[in-house]
Amino acid sequence: MTPRPGSTVHDVAVTVNGAERRARVIPRLLLADLLREEWGLTGTHLGCEHGACGACTVLVDGEPTRSCLVFAVQVDGCRVDTVEGLAGPGPGLHPLQEAFRSRHALQCGFCTPGILMTLVAYLRLHPSPSETEIREALSGNLCRCTGYQHIVQAALDAAAAGREAVPAP
């Protein structure tokens, strides 16, 4: 019997938040679904499912990536970081999460994981952004509670806290 097209399985090994995970996937499985459905990492949210809303943003090899636009089979051998790994193993929050909490930068929280992952990558490369630059960096993330003002403030706070923690040479 010929197998049904698209049913060929592929083995993938991915370093997720520092730990290696393995899975057997069909080609059409999206990375977002692998994270959420197979591995229970439901912090990554799926909004539009066609790359417009940014809620599903994770880091693939350190780069902010929409996980609804990448197939699971493509990240074999890659490092994937999700919001679950942001705070590290300790009890505290990541400084960016801390800033979001103190600035009330989330309402319903649906867009928050994607925004956090986008900002983590952005602030790493741009430690002293202006408000305009933060708004541009977040142009690919939609918040339907329309709470952008607090989000931008939190990002500015986190950038300032980051600069204090690691003084410029």
Partner: protein, 290 residues
């Protein structure tokens, strides 16, 4: 929304990719950054039986500069255009346009070749490549061929690529003269949105300040990027503001503007005239300062 089932191949070399294309022809789709293809697959606007993922073909991801010419592998990510100093030096127009391509996340994944082969009429890169007079290198199992950027684009989402061909890379020539400058301008509703209208220009002047080279491209307004014929009238002239504004208006008149949800055809034509003039003015100011 999830894609329909497909078979997946991840070749390691261009030759393997070309063999797969020769075998599967128009049943197959090449996957580069996936920022246009995967949304269309998720919405099932396209349902390829076979996906050939180019992301593991290392040879397509190289960038190199020699003697002012920039060689961009098709798989070079769009964000490399804004980050790599070689682009800013050899093709500053690309470095200026890059931050306007989609968003942070899409540029991190999206590729130069993917954007060009997709040929969205509102995309920045196809217009820039025509303005820069870039050469596209196409490959198939039948052999390689070269194609000018101008001849590559054939209208709405349509290119010179045959079903068994892939775009391997782009060669961007250096500045056309010592005193050359580029200009870029676009109108979009929000940062990163598709441009309603955009324009880019490259001008070169001789020692006396007379224009010796002029290329103006308007995009987003019609079915594809449009190389403005009227820009030739600038050659032999000094780039005075009134002449540039006139060229912008003439360029807008050449366009078959489209109407959609976002703007009427009349709006696009009117804005195109101003945006084209602005791109020319920026190019002229840079050339004069060079």
């Amino acid at each position: 929304m999830r894609p329909a089932p497909f078979e997946y191949f991840a070749p390691r070399t261009v030759e393997e990719a070309l063999d797969l294309l020769a075998r599967h022809g128009d049943e197959a789709k090449l996957l580069a950054g996936g920022q246009s293809l995967v949304p269309m697959m998720n919405m099932r606007l396209v349902r390829p039986a076979v996906v050939v993922d180019l992301n593991r073909v290392a040879a397509l991801g190289a960038m190199r500069e020699d003697g002012g010419r920039l060689h961009l592998g098709a798989l070079v990510r769009q964000h490399a255009l804004e980050r790599d100093g070689r682009v800013a030096a050899a093709a500053p127009l690309l470095a200026e346009a890059a931050p306007l391509i989609g968003h942070l996340q899409t540029r991190a994944r999206g590729t130069i070749g993917g954007s060009l082969a997709h040929a969205d009429p509102a995309a920045e890169l196809p217009a820039c490549m025509i303005a820069l007079d870039a050469v596209f290198h196409l490959r198939s199992a039948r052999g390689p061929r070269a194609c000018s950027a101008r001849d590559f684009f054939r209208g709405l989402l349509s290119t010179a690529l045959e079903p068994d061909e892939l775009l391997a890379g782009v060669e961007v020539p250096g500045a056309p003269a010592a005193r050359a400058g580029h200009g870029f301008a676009e109108v979009a509703r929000r940062h990163g949105d598709f441009a309603l209208v955009g324009a880019c220009a490259v001008l070169a002047l001789d020692a006396a300040g007379v224009c010796r080279h002029a290329r103006l491209v308007i995009f987003g307004a019609g079915d594809g990027p449009h190389l403005v014929r009227a820009a030739a009238a600038l050659i032999g002239e000094r780039p005075a503001a009134a002449r540039l504004a006139e060229a912008g208006r003439a360029g807008a008149a050449e366009i078959d503007a489209r109407a959609d949800l976002h703007a009427t055809a009349e709006y696009r034509r009117r804005v195109a005239a101003g945006i084209a003039a602005r791109a020319l003015q920026r190019a002229a100011a840079r050339a004069e300062a060079a």
